[in-house]
């Protein structure tokens, strides 16, 4: 919502010497000032000039040379990037030395080898509206236009003003009008506020005999107020109206349309004008649309309406002539021949207009106001104000009016308790302060007991219905900055949950391993999962912005691989990345929401599968996961068939490890091998884990025993390790596989696995016999259970 200071000052005597300070008050009231523009300031030095000749620039086609006359008959050459003017047009010229509103100083300079002795200005450059499409061409139709060299401010009748652009919240229907902003502001500044009474002459007659209204659906329309304006003569609006509309972002059309818009901006009442001659019997009917209703709207588009969604206004023959609260119809549009106008000022049910305008895709200044809720009591004032604005063209309001009422909001008083106000705000307001805050903004406050009030909400505050709504108004006008500040004493202890703590731990482990955390987006293109080797269904979005973002990931793999490819393509090989994030499976049977899980994904570019296994080992060891196993007996989709394993812990599948399938890598354009680890973190952290029991450190010396076995290739090393561990018994304190060897003399199909066993007793020094018996036990067990031969 834009407002002009001069316009605000028609309702209350606001100071005009501190526009920024006034803006701060608006912001403090919740009407956030997004910009403050001083109109007509910085225009000194800009004068009226006449275009004498237009010539092509010899060295540029996006610039032309313009010869202008400033009144001395001499041709002054200007380089100009706009082409919208013609010879003998009057245009604004910023002369040399002018400092433009943006701060730029106009100097004589060469553009592509040609001198420019000033700058021709667009409307926007002058701070007049947003039109930047071309040079502002002055209207010279009447009295031949202003004299050449006249200051532009004088020629355009620009008086300095201040334009505020305000962000109005949905709960402030009142602030969608200049008068409403003025009311709120005047209340805070303790200035008298009044809406001037329109000074109009009525034409004798009775509108009720010219028009009739049948309100068929009271749940659609709360009030339909119809008036007749006679003696209409369509012509351009007076400049002051056109300028104000332009400043507020609306395009002047003709006096009737402009007056209609002016009243909407000033009083917040959208209204519609029908050419009465085009309404056969002056009858309007108001009802919900039925399927099959169609209408060609003012913008020339034929639209089909939907029962129960759109409201319509029809003529007496039930033919739609307007979409309720959204847009009028073309058939009854005002034209140059219009002489008699039916004026509609209505109150539509806000939700109805919100739905209708949303689904029709027709958001307008009118619908924006109707859906917030306009003031049903302002219709008469709005009609008279519109007549006042049209009076100079000879138009007159006909006596009488027709008003049909439907369902209007309940305006029963609301009880407001001073104690509740203070309890919610933390203030210590005296009850007597409450009326003083509410009455200036239109609330009627009656005492009801010592500390309570019955408050009647003004008709222009559709949003306000409850005690809490009124508490907010009290807070606004008391001033948020005057509410004390204190810190509540939490009765809780702040702490992370075990899962949150574990998540931080996992991140620290990975960072310590030199892996960077990445956060790819969770959206995928339809083929992304398949090309990452991941079959299966995925959840999709109904209204994605692009197909590339239409699928929810079921795995972190595609996103991390894409990041690897991105890095490779930017000459960064060997990246190590991890992500902890949500993945989304299709909902479980009977569930509404997707099967959402938190996964850990790790990609190690340029590394082979064992590197990922090492990461897994560190993660499970740090977390203390129960019985972690690497099960290479099952295939994992999208991974190298010989280098893939399912991870289990406590007998439950918790992830996968290995290397990305070379075919997948090739499809993604990744040149390096990529080791891959994925852990279902949610599942893992749900298992009992994190026990790190203390094992006393023996004071006695330990002995190392190196044993190498020839083992068939089909037997996983993990099984050999487990068998060694079991057979070695309690004396084993540490076990590591330190060498793997293939080739002669180890027979084909076998490899040698060399282990170092560290043996130690808690209570004595080991003897050679102790060590020999471990050696024998391990050799015997491996021979019998795994057919593994102890190498000499």
């Amino acid at each position: 919502m834009k407002v002009l200071l001069s316009w605000l000052r028609e309702f209350a005597p606001f100071p005009d010497d501190d526009p920024v300070g006034l803006g701060d008050v608006m912001s403090d009231l919740g009407m956030a000032v997004e910009s403050v523009d001083r109109i007509g300031e910085g225009l000194d030095g800009i004068v009226v000039a006449r275009v004498l000749a237009l010539r092509p620039h010899p060295n540029a086609d996006k610039i032309q040379l313009v010869d202008v006359d400033l009144g001395d008959g001499e041709a002054l050459q200007i380089c100009c990037g706009a082409f919208n003017m013609a010879e003998s047009d009057l245009v604004p010229l910023a002369t040399l030395g002018t400092v433009m509103p943006g701060g730029m100083e106009i100097a004589r300079r060469k553009l592509r080898g040609e001198w420019s002795n000033g700058m021709l200005c667009s409307g926007k450059e002058l701070g007049l509206g947003d039109d930047h499409s071309g040079i502002l061409v002055l209207d010279s139709s009447d009295v031949g236009g202003p004299a050449l060299g006249t200051p532009i401010t004088e020629a355009l009748g620009i008086t300095p003003d201040v334009l505020y652009d305000l962000e109005i919240n949905p709960n402030r229907p009142d602030a969608m009008s200049v008068a409403g902003v003025a009311r709120d502001l005047a209340a805070r500044l303790h200035l008298p506020f009044a809406i001037p009474e329109p000074q109009i002459e009525l034409v004798a007659g009775d509108a009720a005999e010219l028009v009739s209204v049948e309100l068929l659906d009271p749940d659609l329309c709360g009030r339909f107020h119809a008036r007749v304006i006679d003696g209409v003569h369509i012509e351009p609006s007076p400049p002051w109206i056109a300028e104000r509309l332009t400043a507020l972002g609306m395009r002047p059309i003709n006096n009737v349309v402009d007056a209609s818009n002016y009243v909407m901006l000033e009083l917040g009442q959208p209204n519609h004008t029908y050419d009465l001659a085009k309404l056969p019997d002056g009858t309007l009917r108001v009802r919900w649309a039925v399927d099959g209703d169609t209408i060609t709207t003012l913008d020339g588009v034929e639209r089909g309406l939907v029962a129960g969604r759109d409201g319509v206004i029809t003529d007496g023959a039930d033919v739609p002539v307007g979409i309720a609260g959204v847009m009028g119809g073309a058939s009854t549009e005002i034209s140059d021949t219009t002489t008699s106008v039916l004026l509609e000022c209505a109150w539509w049910r806000p939700m109805a207009i919100a739905v209708s305008s949303k689904y029709l895709g027709l958001r307008s200044e009118a619908s924006a106001r109707f859906e917030r809720g306009v003031d049903p009591d302002v219709v008469d004032l709005a009609a008279r104000r519109l007549a006042e604005l049209l009076a100079p063209s000879g138009a007159r309001l006909v006596e009488g009016s027709v008003t049909a009422d439907g369902e209007l909001p309940d305006r029963s008083p609301v009880r407001v308790r001073a104690d509740r106000v203070n309890r919610l705000l933390g203030t210590e307001l005296e009850p007597a302060e409450i009326p003083a805050l509410l009455e200036p903004i239109g609330f009627v406050v009656e005492p009801a007991g010592e500390r309570d009030f019955l408050v009647t909400i003004p008709s222009f505050r559709f949003d306000t219905t409850t005690e809490t709504d009124i508490v907010e108004e009290i807070a606004r006008h008391h001033g948020y900055s005057r509410i004390p500040r204190r810190v509540p004493t939490s009765t809780q202890t702040g702490s992370l949950s075990p899962v949150q703590r574990d998540r931080r731990t996992v991140r620290q482990v990975l960072v310590g391993l030199g892996i960077h955390e990445a956060m790819p987006l969770p959206f995928l293109a339809p083929g992304d999962l398949a090309s990452a080797g991941l079959p299966g269904e995925a959840v999709t979005l109904t209204n994605p912005l692009a197909a590339e973002e239409s699928v929810l990931r079921t795995s972190l793999r595609p996103g991390l691989l894409r990041a690897v490819a991105y890095n490779e393509s930017h000459r960064t090989d060997g990246v190590s990345l991890f992500e902890i994030g949500q993945v989304f499976g299709v909902p479980a049977l009977g569930a509404v929401l997707p099967d959402e899980r938190e996964h850990l994904g790790v990609v190690l570019a340029g590394r082979e599968a064992p590197a990922a296994v090492q990461v897994w080992e560190l993660v499970h060891r740090t977390l203390g996961l129960p019985s972690p196993e690497i099960d290479q007996g099952r295939a994992v989709a999208g991974l190298h068939p010989g280098r893939a394993a399912v991870l289990t812990s406590g007998g439950v599948d918790v992830g996968e490890v290995g290397e990305i399938d070379p075919g997948v890598l090739a499809a993604l354009g990744i040149r390096e091998r990529v080791a891959w680890l994925q852990v279902d973190l949610g599942t893992v952290l749900g298992l009992p884990h994190g026990e790190h029991p203390y094992r006393p450190i023996s004071r006695y010396p330990s002995s190392d025993l190196d044993l190498a076995f020839e083992v068939d290739e089909t037997v996983p090393a993990a099984r050999v390790t487990a068998a060694v561990r079991d057979a070695a018994g309690d004396l084993l304190v540490d076990l590591r596989l330190f060498d793997v060897f293939r080739g002669a003399p180890v027979p084909e199909g076998h490899r040698s696995l060399a282990y170092r066993l560290r043996l130690q007793a808690p209570d004595r020094t080991l003897t050679d016999d102790d060590i020999a018996s471990v050696r024998d036990a391990v050799a015997a067990t491996l021979a019998s259970s795994l057919d593994a031969t102890l190498r000499a």
Binding site: S27, G426, E472, I483, R485, R486, V487, G512, P522
Partner: protein, 349 residues
């Protein structure tokens, strides 16, 4: 005989220092030592001659011999120390390294900027007695909108550009547009008093540009207890502001509108760049808009079966990504999400 011994002894005693000093290495010194004191050494040989002397002579010669031996041993020790320390110095000198001549640098990974900011924010709130709550990223319409006092077709729904998930009835499942549905989950899953923050990933139907992403992060706070007022909200946000941004940065609240709070407010902080003086970043206002807040709307409390007369509360929320970007002067939010290691590794902590 005695004179021979004495003479020889004197000669040994007189020559020993020079011989010892002439040893240029520990090996040479060991040879000198053997010559003098070894089993076949000169002093040992002399000692063997003592047996032939009478008791008085023997005692006198023995005494003299011991004196010479002590002097020789002392000279040997001194020379050994000197040689050892110069050999050590040589070794150390030979082992000298240019410590700036490092070929392989140790590397450590990095937490994502969002995670770093997330953890820092959470840590401040932990210190203020808050717990941390989480919820799903895909939500039902009820949690994301209805329960938060935003019924279907409510004009306020236009405040969020929602991405809908193709599940169930049309427009009933959404990618959460804010972390606020976690408020509802916290209130339905537990009971007041509640002091919780809710960081999380949120989604909007937004085209990515320098300051927008369809996926970004928020942190939300919720307090529900007896006697909680707007003053508690203002005080909590001020305490958080100075704790997180430093003592020079303060907060202010301006009236605003959110369907799930009333009274509602915008939460501004002093511009982090000019500390309130006014600069280009803050549009000369001295303030940065951080987020929204307010008193939990009575309808929201009723939706989770809490009596608004008994319980009151406040909620606040703000974006996390912008804080991450501002802290390091990153001017394009998209940089954070490409996974480019050249970006990630710039922020080790």
């Amino acid at each position: 005989m005695t004179d021979d011994i004495t003479e020889t002894l004197e000669q040994i005693g007189a020559e020993a220092p020079d011989r010892i000093a002439a040893a240029a290495s520990l090996d040479e010194l060991r040879a000198v030592e053997a010559d003098l004191l070894g089993k076949k050494g000169e002093l040992t040989a002399l000692k063997k001659g003592l047996g032939a002397l009478g008791p008085d002579e023997r005692r006198a010669a023995g005494q003299a011999m011991n004196d010479v031996r002590a002097a020789v041993e002392s000279a040997l020790a001194g020379r050994r120390d000197a040689l050892e320390s110069s050999e050590r110095a040589l070794t150390l000198a030979a082992e000298r390294l240019d410590l700036t001549e490092v070929v392989d640098h140790a590397s450590r990974g990095s937490l994502h900027l969002v995670t770093q900011t997330w953890d820092r924010l959470v840590d401040v709130f932990l210190g203020m007695g808050f717990t941390v709550a989480e919820g799903p990223e895909v939500e039902t319409d009820w949690y994301n909108f209805e329960a938060l006092n935003i019924p279907a077709a409510h004009p306020a729904r236009g405040m969020w550009d929602t991405l809908y998930v193709d599940l169930g009835e049309p427009e009933t499942v959404v990618l959460r547009t804010h972390t606020s549905p976690v408020q509802i989950r916290v209130m339905t899953d537990g009971e007041p008093p509640i002091y919780a923050v809710m960081p999380g990933r949120v989604f909007r139907r937004d085209t990515a540009d320098a300051s927008h992403m369809p996926v970004f992060h928020q942190i939300e706070g919720l307090v529900v207890d007896r006697g909680i007022s707007f003053a508690d909200l203002a005080g909590t946000l001020e305490a958080f502001t100075t704790a997180y941004f430093g003592g020079a940065i303060h907060s202010r609240l301006r009236p605003s509108y959110f369907p799930f709070t009333e009274p509602s407010a915008e939460y501004d902080i002093n511009c982090l760049f000019c500390e309130g003086a006014g600069c280009r970043t803050c549009g000369q206002t001295g303030w940065l808009e951080l987020g929204g807040c307010g008193m939990v709307h009575p309808n929201v409390l009723r939706n989770v079966d809490l009596d608004p007369e008994e319980w009151t509360g406040f909620a606040f929320g703000f974006g996390l990504d912008r804080l991450a970007l501002m802290r390091h002067g990153v001017d394009d939010i998209r940089e954070m999400y490409t996974g480019d290691v050249r970006f990630l590794e710039q922020f080790p902590a």
